[in-house]
Amino acid sequence: MAKKTIAYIDAIREALREEMARDPKVIIMGEDVGLGQGAFTVTKGLYQEFGKDRVIDTPISEESIIGACVGLAMAGFRPVAEIMFNPFMALVMDPLINHAACYRYVSGGQVKVPMVIRTLVCQGRGAGHDHAPFYASWFMHIPCLRVIVPSTPYDAKGLLKTAIRDDYPCIFYEHIDFYPRKPNLGEIPEEEYLIPFGEADIKREGSDVTVVAILTGVKASLSAAEKLEKEEGISVEVIDPRTLAPLDKQTILNSVKKTGRLVVVETDFKTAGVGAEIAAMVVEEALEYLDAPVKRVATKDIPISFTNEKYILPDEQAIVKAVKELVLK
């Protein structure tokens, strides 16, 4: 298969463009997505290519943007909304949780609600308590939602295309660290491809400890793994679930059965976060294989401020420390 190199941000735009070209029912909505070319230029050019009826600049009305997506989706369209920063998801919980997630089931299967919300995890930039946090576990908790956390250009494109075609509401997280082109290049096939939901990717094989990591945690875990290999001779397996709902439990369980040790790495708050669910799942289904306590490497349970990210977000060092604590004692 022919390959090409692409940046993360371009992979997302390519997925949007391909799906819009393929299916006239795909509609983009959000603040500044059209004329203004997107707050971070992700949708650049699409307004010119597909026109203002398919790339819709909205008022600052998050709740109604997502509510309108529910209506559009029920009416047979496939809206892709942009919610500029992840904490703004707090504004759309009613249409998303009480409506989008439930209408298929509660209507007795009469309608479906295919929609995607792209939203930005803006951490490490001093964006503050109402722009930086990341609430993925809220959405894992809700039946019938998809939670997608791509960490590479390949995953981003393939999963976004799947999300647009999926018949359930999908929350698609992008991390601001992935937007700059230079450090975020990756290979993807020239031809069209899709990545199914619920298939974790083993980003590195190992035998001593399993690290389940998402988004920026993946890269940090991979470099921690390298360091641990080199300096301590510890063999780390790094698993990127890529979708948190559905979650590929089997790949995680298989790995833990092999290594006997689990660290979950994420940049969401620790308590009742993504790591809690993964730890609980493993302890329910594979306790007998665990040779050491599960460790959650996550953001400290303190509001994110203008300046405290460097102290509270987890980093490579925190991963190294957690792995060592599990393996060396």
């Binding site: 819709i56 109604s64 943007i65 029920m74 009480n98 509660v106």
Partner: protein, 348 residues
């Protein structure tokens, strides 16, 4: 002690200066400028809605209806007045009190009543109950979250616009709902994007146990349309012809893609917010009685009889037919099975 004041009907007029929807000074008593079938359809719907609700209240009181019930009794002229304008393919958003509209829109009475009883044969397999019905055969839906249908209506309106054609959206809501932020966000969007939506406020003066005057800065919800450069109109919601005409003009604007309209219908619910609440705590019996004097099942019937549209025998026939339809639906519903354990895993 709490004081009650009989709320006077406000002068009915237009608010939007550029409104294309004008009050017609037609003398209705002197003859209807409408087809006879339409008048009879409206009358039938009034009778159907009244009888259905009375039956449901009876069941509820006897402990045979699960959940709560929000009676529509008193407000029937609104939905009945809208009904002749609605096409099967039009979208419709109902409220927690809008249950019966799904029937008017075309939901079979059997699967409707079965749904209220939580049966597997219900239009939503018994998953919705009175407050959450969706019948996508006729594109009607609802929400138990007050005000949540405004943005859904915007989505439907966008779909109509993108599809082309003359499909439109009806969105009914209460006076209380007009205080939700979604009202504002969505009416703004509807206006900016010129969406084919008819917003119909059923202003019954109360939101649950609270009189609107305590919570709502305007007594005419229609006044709010000017914040969106949207035409609006106020009509007597106890008069189905007034509703029919105002909504008709709004529908015409929508089908012609001239944009959304807000129609406010002044109406009243005779029962409590849900059946059995202590409504004496928040409104006076005199007020209730005053409104009941204008009951459409009486006043509209009398008008139609006087004008020769109805005859006593036709009235009997209509009532009889509706009674037996309801009986049939109830029988069907009561005999239907409940959802089983396996059923709950369907449609996931």
């Amino acid at each position: 002690m709490l004081e009650f004041k009989l709320l006077a009907m406000k002068k009915l007029n237009n608010y939007h200066p550029k409104s294309k929807v004008r009050v017609k000074n037609k003398n209705l008593i002197g003859g209807f400028n409408m087809e006879k079938e339409i008048l009879i359809k409206i009358y039938q719907n009034i009778v159907l809605l009244r009888k259905l609700d009375e039956k449901l209240i009876e069941l509820f009181t006897a402990g045979k209806l699960p959940g709560w019930i929000h009676p529509y009794v008193g407000q029937e002229a609104v939905v009945a007045g809208i009904s002749p304008h609605v096409r099967k393919e039009d979208f419709f958003c109902a409220t927690h009190r809008g249950r019966a509209f799904h029937v008017v829109k075309g939901t079979p009475l059997r699967s409707f009543v079965a749904e209220l009883l939580g049966k597997k044969t219900g239009v939503n397999k018994g998953r919705a109950g009175e407050m959450h019905i969706t019948n996508w055969e006729v594109y009607s839906t609802s929400s138990g979250i007050v005000g949540a249908t405004f943005p859904m209506a915007v989505g439907f309106g966008l779909a109509c616009k993108l599809e082309g054609g003359d499909r439109i959206v009806f969105c009914t809501f209460g006076d209380g709902a007009s205080n939700r932020g979604t009202f504002h966000e969505s009416l703004n969007m509807a206006s900016v994007w010129k969406l084919p939506i008819v917003f119909i406020c059923e202003n019954n003066l109360y939101a649950q146990f609270t009189p609107s005057r305590l919570t709502t800065a305007v007594s005419d919800i229609a006044q709010r349309a000017s914040a969106y450069n949207m035409p609006s109109k106020i009509v007597d919601g106890m008069d189905p012809i007034a509703v029919y005409e105002a909504v008709g003009e709004a529908v015409e604007r929508a089908r012609k893609r001239e944009g959304p309209t807000l129609v406010e219908c002044k109406t009243y619910r005779y029962h409590g917010h849900f059946y059995g609440d202590k409504w004496e705590t928040y409104r006076s019996p005199e007020e209730v009685e005053a409104w009941k004097k204008r009951d459409p099942t009486v006043t509209f019937k009398e008008r139609l009889l006087k004008e020769g549209v109805l005859t006593e025998s036709l009235v009997k026939e209509i009532e009889g037919r509706i009674d037996s339809q309801i009986e049939d639906a109830l029988k069907f519903a009561f005999e239907s099975p409940e959802p089983s354990l396996e059923d709950i895993y369907e449609d996931l």
